[in-house]
Amino acid sequence: MKYMHLVYSNLKRKKIRTFLTFASVLVAFLLFGYLSAIEAALEIGVTVAGADRLVVRHKVSLIQPLPESYEAQIEQIDGIVDATPATWFGGVYQDPTNFFFQAPVKPLEYLAMYPEFLIPEEQVEAWLNTRTGVIVGRAIADQYEWEIGDRVPIQATIWWKRDGSRLWEFDIVGIYDGAEQATDTAQFLFRYDYFDESRSESARGLVGWYIVRVDDPDNAVAIANAIDDRFANSPAETSAETELAFVQGFAKQIGNIGKIMTGILSAVFFTILLVAGNTMAQTVRERIEEIGVLKAIGYSHRHVMGLVLTESIVLAGGAGLVGLALAWFAISRGDPTGGAFPVFYFPTADILVGVLLAITLGVAAGLLPATQAMRLQVAEALRRK
């Protein structure tokens, strides 16, 4: 620590250069933070997907409905604990840009299927007692400043009401939280019975997909095959898969997010490494004589190497850490798209990767100049005046 003033003084030597290098590294880590949050948002569910849950949809596509009667038939298959339907509602709240997932579900079955949705008992009771009741996730409740007791109008785009109207009104009876940071708390869940009785006659008895719990995750694939076999050659054939595969399939619709992110960040960090490395190389080149003086008065090769490396770590590593902190702060203030992402957070694992990356960048940027400084012969360095 007694050498730190020397490190800081050297960094202050060329303030603009130090600032520019610091800023470029900082921005790179800010970008890293945002890309991590976006990746987490786009792959939502992958991290929390239940290994014992399957999703059963129509074989043709997700938008083709399945008969409500399948629930009982699915539950008869060996190894299945429970099955519950869900349906894409796709309504608009005030403005089409206010996007969040809306689905009619069977309250107790759905909540049992997703134990990661945490909601007080009395709010579940209220949901069961209120036909137009809806429970909403904390994220959208905060975003739209909803409170229990509020009435929320939703304009249907798919499911018109029996009387021809498109307006559905729901009463908020509960707000659920997520058991984990990655739990989707942007869902708007209302009662299936209300939905089914209110929609047009021709659409009744149809659901979007089923979520199925199996007793042994090891048998998930075999059970999925059994479900598909059960409905083979029927008017509505099914495609069953694990929830993980289902969610990944969704995420992959816009490409391999992880690969895209790795590609962008590799390019950014390689550039930043060159920028920081160049700064450090330049700073050592300018100080050859001073390094010679330090060595003359007794600083060893290792001392000098340590000083240059510390300077690099403070500059690049410090900027990286500040960038990560800023990213964390900005991300925790909310989704910049105004709700397009169901979750938006900086995953802890990515923060740790970022910290490691910042330190590695500091070391990598300073390694070559520090080695040069270490190898510098003192008499040679002093002769350069």
Partner: protein
């Protein structure tokens, strides 16, 4: 430092050559030198005669191609680089022609540089710095940066840095070479006082006969050889 019998520096059969392209330049050839403890020795000679090279060999900044250099009983020509750096920190103080202060540090911080290598506490280091700056008469300029000091003052800071660890031997390479006569005289007064009042052994390389006169002994280096008489 090991035991020694009054001769602080003992160089025997020292040769040093440099390569410049395919050409070999013989700078020092089979040179012997004894410097008693407490001596104030000036080394004179024409440019390129090897004065600075000899100073570097005595200070452990370079190694002879042949021969031995013993300082205070320690064979420094055969020391490993790490041990040599440690030895320099404890026993040698360097004063350079162009002061070689770190421009980003204040006078006090510059003087403190060699003390950072010692196990002294912050408070002890501060006391040592104050003492060194007081000896050179700059106790009122501790917080000034080199750019805020005159050449003479910068050289005095350089001397304070050299004596901060209370080294056995002071090696001065043209300490007045970049100064006007008045400032140069002040530096020479200071070196003389360090020799007489503080018992420092000083080796001073200089081109200036006026400066050399202030030393207690003068040696001349020419064509790699040392003589007591100024060569014609």
């Amino acid at each position: 430092m090991s035991e020694f019998n009054g001769t602080l520096v003992k160089a025997r059969g020292v040769s040093k050559n440099f390569k410049r392209g395919s050409e070999t330049i013989h700078v020092l050839a089979d040179l012997d030198l004894d410097i008693p403890a407490g001596d104030f020795l000036s080394l004179m000679g024409p440019s390129g005669s090897g004065k600075t090279t000899l100073l570097n060999l005595i200070g452990g900044l370079d190694r002879p191609d042949t021969g031995s250099v013993e300082v205070g009983g320690d064979r420094i020509d055969s020391m490993g680089s790490r041990k040599l750096a440690n030895w320099r920190a404890r026993h040698i103080g360097f004063v350079f022609q162009f002061y070689n202060l770190l421009p980003v540090l204040t006078a006090a911080r510059n003087v403190e540089l060699p003390l950072l290598l010692t196990p002294l506490s912050k408070k002890e280091r501060r006391q040592q710095v104050e003492t060194a700056l007081k000896i050179v008469g700059l106790e009122h300029r501790t917080k000034h940066y080199p750019r805020q000091l005159s050449g003479g003052e910068q050289q005095r800071v350089g001397i304070a840095r050299a004596i901060a660890t209370d080294p056995t031997l002071l090696l001065c390479d043209e300490p007045t070479g970049d100064l006007d006569r008045k400032s140069g005289d002040e530096i020479l007064d200071l070196l003389e006082a360090l020799s007489k009042d503080h018992g420092k052994t000083i080796v001073m390389v200089t081109h200036d006969p006026h400066a050399a006169l202030r030393a207690s002994r003068n040696l001349y280096l020419d064509a790699g050889k040392l003589t007591a008489e100024r060569p014609e």
